[in-house]
């Protein structure tokens, strides 16, 4: 059910340094805001797991489609989280709930998404979760996500978090460029458009379908270069930016594929150029 470009998992969660102020380890408090919010997240993911476990046993396509109409919705759990957040706005544990709400709503966005981002920007811009949120937002098609990242980039006190925001803006541009190219080359544009609108909303679709992927890649390059120039001290993000720049410059559509020299599964040498003269589907895969 995922859109084809939404498969990536984020490998860029930056290793996070300890807070500069040493403090005694916090004892878990079962009645605490942090724990209550974490419990809501667990509750919802358990409901989802059960739902998809049952789905696996359904054989016919028609029954599957009918079943999926009752896919668990986060809305009810998000309301519960808001209740706790509103009662305890100054509790540092609130970030756990905001982080989760953002993860649940980053596409197609909406009022919960925007409100959660605003609160993070106001009170948690230097928290370790801010970095995680930035990485996640590169997959969001929503303008508020971009605005949030720019706020973090200009205002966070911590270099790791600014680096993460900068890298995520680059990632956002690149993901959009890839989506635009994918859409333009897709065989069944109508089906793709319907799926896109369903998961990400009409507004995001209109914007995507008019966007220029080459310009988006130029923009992505600019932010990745900034990561390397300004945030060279943050090794994980620099490495990520270097990889992304290599991809933009050497692996975009229309570029000559770089040579690959490696070993095949029998440990014999194999090269990509062994297949020159043929149309090649190169499939990065794993059996797991």
């Amino acid at each position: 059910m995922l859109l084809p470009f939404a498969f990536s998992f984020i490998a860029a969660f930056a290793a996070f340094p300890q807070d500069s102020k040493p403090s005694a380890p916090r004892q878990p408090d079962p009645g605490g805001v942090r724990e209550k919010l974490a419990a809501i997240e667990v509750e919802f993911s358990t409901v989802q797991e059960d739902f998809y476990k049952k789905y696996q046993d359904i054989k016919s396509k028609e029954e599957q489609a009918a079943y999926l109409k009752n896919t668990p919705k986060a809305a009810e759990y998000i309301s519960k989280a808001w209740e706790i957040i509103h009662k305890n706005p100054k509790d540092p544990g609130v970030i756990v709930g905001l982080n989760w709400i953002i993860a649940e709503t980053y596409a197609p966005g909406g009022a919960d998404f925007t409100k959660a981002l605003d609160l993070v920007a106001a009170d948690f811009i230097d928290s370790k979760e801010a970095s995680e949120i930035c990485s996640q937002l590169q997959y969001s098609p929503i303008d508020d996500a971009r605005k949030f990242l720019e706020t973090v980039l200009s205002r966070s006190k911590l270099i790791e978090i600014r680096a993460s925001a900068c890298s995520a803006i680059g990632g956002m541009c690149m993901n959009r460029a890839n989506t635009v190219d994918y859409f333009n080359s897709s065989k069944d544009k109508k089906e793709y458009a319907e799926n896109y609108i369903k998961t990400r909303g009409q507004e995001a679709f209109d914007k995507m379908s008019k966007a220029d992927s080459a310009a988006l890649r130029v923009e992505a390059e600019k932010y990745y270069e900034q990561v390397i120039k300004e945030f060279g001290a943050v090794a994980s993000q620099t490495k990520f930016a270097e990889g992304a720049l290599f991809e933009i410059r050497n692996l975009s559509n229309g570029r000559q594929a770089p040579e690959i020299v490696g070993k095949d599964v029998d440990n014999k040498e194999m090269k990509l150029s062994d297949f020159k003269g043929k149309v090649v589907v190169l499939d990065f895969w794993g059996y797991w």
């Binding site: 692996l251 229309g254 095949d264 149309v279 589907v281 499939d283």
Partner: protein, 104 residues
């Protein structure tokens, strides 16, 4: 993925086409067993036994599967096309190649 790939390879038999895997599994011996069991007949690189192998790293691959479709001149033409879209991309590039040959 696999059923579609098997049928694509079968459909392209005798055509100038190759499906080339870049595998990121950890255990080569186990992988060979899997390939026999799953009837994976096409060639695959073995990328050093993990998801952070040298080639996946260089190609900036963070999600699996990641697909590149490369034409007969070695130019990258499509990315991450699946199923029907992959078939369409391959058919188009094969047709391009044949048109080029016959115009020579």
């Amino acid at each position: 993925m696999l059923p579609h790939e098997r049928s694509l390879v079968k459909r392209m038999e005798g055509k100038p086409f190759a499906l080339v895997g870049m595998n990121s599994d950890s255990d080569r011996a186990k992988l060979k067993e899997t390939m026999a069991k799953e009837n994976i007949t096409w060639p695959s690189f073995f990328d050093g036994g993990g998801t952070s192998g040298p080639i996946a790293t260089k190609w900036n691959v963070h999600g699996w599967p990641t697909i590149y479709v490369i034409d007969h001149k070695g130019v990258i033409r499509y990315k991450n096309v699946r199923e029907k879209a992959m078939d369409a991309a391959v058919d188009k590039l094969i047709a391009e190649m044949e048109a080029e040959k016959s115009s020579k």
